[in-house]
């Protein structure tokens, strides 16, 4: 089957029920999305399909209907997305293992909601677990990224 990931089309030969996460990680070598729970409880595997955040561990690759973007496709170390830049600025990461998913969740939130309230942030970002407890910095970084994106638009 064909899979478009980070603007590149791949031909993959896997069974329909393989979760997108494992196609990305083990078949395509795209390891930014992480395995944390496999049951849509932690958000470490979050990627975008057509801009919307999904749990790639719980999405059968056969059901992927759109274009996939992973953390690697969001921005690069040389050209970071505003959310990534805010994360670096606020030194959010500790172990960093959850952060690909956190950043993808935040980026998708800001795509649909440019001015999220504290409650919006709490609601969306609570689906992503961080065992290291970086939550206060996540809150601050989401707000900073939102402000930056608004500034750019105006």
């Amino acid at each position: 089957m064909r899979l478009k990931v980070n603007a590149k089309t791949h031909e993959v030969n896997v069974e329909d029920d393989m979760p997108l996460l494992w196609v990305l990680r083990d078949e395509l070598g795209i390891t930014g999305p992480k395995y944390g729970c496999g049951i849509a409880m932690c958000g470490a595997c979050t990627v975008h399909v057509d801009g919307g955040a999904v749990r790639s561990c719980s999405l059968r690759v056969g059901d992927v209907s759109g274009e996939v973007t992973t953390i690697e496709g969001l921005g690069s170390p040389e050209a970071m997305h505003a959310v990534q830049a805010a994360w670096v600025e606020h030194q959010v990461a500790q172990c960093g293992y959850c952060q690909s998913g956190q950043i993808m969740a935040a980026a998708s939130l800001l795509m649909v909601n440019g001015e999220p309230t504290d409650e919006d942030i709490d609601r969306t970002m609570s689906a992503n677990l961080c065992r290291c407890g970086t939550y206060p910095r996540i809150r601050a970084a989401v707000k900073a990224a939102a402000a930056k994106l608004r500034e750019r638009r105006s």
Binding site: G32, K34, Y35, Q91, A93, Q94, G96, Y97, L129, G133
Partner: protein, 746 residues
Amino acid sequence: MSRAGKIARRTFLIGSAAVAGGVAFGIYAYKRTPTNPLLRNLGDGQAALTPYVRLDQSGVTIITPRADVGQGAYSVQAALVAEELDLPWEQIKVDPGPPSAAYYNGKVLAEGLPFAATDNGPLARNARVLGDVGGKFLGLQITGGSSTVPDAYEKLRVAGAVAREVLLLAAARQTGIAKADLRTRNGAVVTPDGRSLSYASLAATAAQIDPPATATLKPESEWRYLGKSMRRIDMVAKCTGTAVFGIDLRMPGMVYATVRTNPRLGGGMKNHDPSAAAASKGVLKIVPITAGVGVIADNTWRAFKAANVIKFDWGPAPYPPTTAAMFETVGTSFVPARQDSRFKNEGNIEAALTGTGVIEAEYKVPYLAHAPLEPMNAVVQLKDGRLDIWTGTQIPMFMMAMAASMTGLRAENIHLHAQMSGGSFGARLEDDYVRQAIELAKAFPGPPIKMTWTREEDMTHDFPRPLAMARMRGAVKDGHVDAYDLSIACPSVTASQLGRQNLSIPGPDVAIVAGAWDQPFKIPNYRVTGYRVPELVPVSSWRSVGASGNGFLHDGFLDELIHAAGADPLKERLRLCWHEPSRKVLEAVGEMSSWGSDPGKDRGRGIAFTLSFGVPAAEVVEVTNTPHGIRIDKVFVAVEVGRVLDPKNFDNQVRGGVIWGLGHAMNAELTHADGIAQQTNYHAFEAMRLYQVPLIEVRALTNTNEVRGIGEPTVPPAAPALANAIFAATGKRIRELPLNKHIDFV
């Protein structure tokens, strides 16, 4: 008997293990500098200026032997070396280096000594020196016990300074200019006429110079990095998905695997039927391993899927099958035969607790899993008489010894490549997952095998923080706490954990009473007794170890006594506390939280204090009792750390510790049925999520000269501060964790 005599009789615990086998040899081994392990693998034109600095034509690499499990250890180790070596921050490259006794941890044993961190008597000081000797003697290259910074603080600066000396000597030799006229700046040696010789260009000459034994350190006033917030060297990679964790490794020809072993830890496998799995797509081989099987496939998920359809008949657990039955064992352990320690025994507790008015209570804390977000994994390759292991670990030397004994290979044919870990919280102080990967490699030699645990395997095979129970008695007099008798029954983490490394420790286990016996309070009649419960489930170190539960046990009942006395919780703690730096943190949280002011309707404030890993930590928690349950509004935390090397990272660690402590206190426990842990994934074990996180205000005090680590000490007082706040808001005293067994949270 004299106090010294008593302490000698108690034995030196880890100290005594370290010097068992002969003090003379111990001292000899201590004095002999362990060989610089970098000398073994140097390439052409490379110089190893010290065990911590490698130099070649591409520049300097700093060796950071303490594992980075998220606490920022690589960055802080790099900053200590770079500060003295005058390296520009953007040029810093790090490498965890090979496992080596040269990277021994001289501070990790200190926490195991039966001396309170507040004890600066000669005996205590000597014991700490012996701890350092022990660490070196045993070649303990360990990351843990909040010891990275205390251990590295001087060592790594000296390493940087020695390397700088060598580079100056090399430049002098190369240019003919006297060394005294040369300076170092930004990764180069600068001559009086303004020429700049990069360190890289000096590599070949430096390789021929014998490093001096020591060098002068810069005065603090010249520091550029230490004491400032530096961008963590792993930050950009971790925010762009380009950081490579152990689980992310990819190699040519690599195969993927998982294991299933008996979830009744220590039980065997009676039977299994792998026929369906063997026919499953992508499966290359199913191999028996200790207490289970491994599935090797061409994709991790295919291995997971195949493992799911294997039918197992597991043997019974070598411990009582249910949590209730285990607590029964704990409850029957408060007997003289199981008494392990009584490090604190002041006044006359029996006399003070006769008659009426004795207050009694029983407290409980549960097993807790480490559950770092990256499940345990390792890549192992056995090929042509050589074993390679790629994994995140806090115990590289133990792992080398284990690998040698499992394969019969000599140390020089075993290569351990340390990887970045997605959290640990103590989980990577174990090596069971690597043992399993080596078993797979022996059955399937040739290709690199990446073995990954499913989250379910990780949760059900974690060696958790032990459960514990405490019985307390106390009395108050004239509005003050007069007597406190605390008995704690708990399995020994130290015995369980070191037992798996074939080490045994004579004497009591300080971890059973850590965070309780060593608190800086002067109560007229005060006794703390530890009882050692048989092992039950194998247990291990969990962020803040013994103090993680004992903070709640000790401070929770102290709060009860203070309330019984009708005293103010802050004022009475201050009155009882004799240790000035500890008083200061209590005063600080009092001021930060406007302690004493009216918290408002349905609201309450609780305070708690624990001294652990040498760090006094006080926390005030503010809660509201809403119609939907308790909401945590604010936390104020003050700690005494002597020195803050990186303010941002410090702040991140402190907040992380508070959130860790509160989250697990709210809702996390590991319970057992039929000998198996029942919480198999994050749906049943989640601690705090973002919407529950309160405002956290942090203050660092630096009134002492001790350099301390901060990854753990804010964990222990979080649970009691929360329970005490709930009592203040609702009148309900909860004596068991997690608290949500007794009250709802928003």
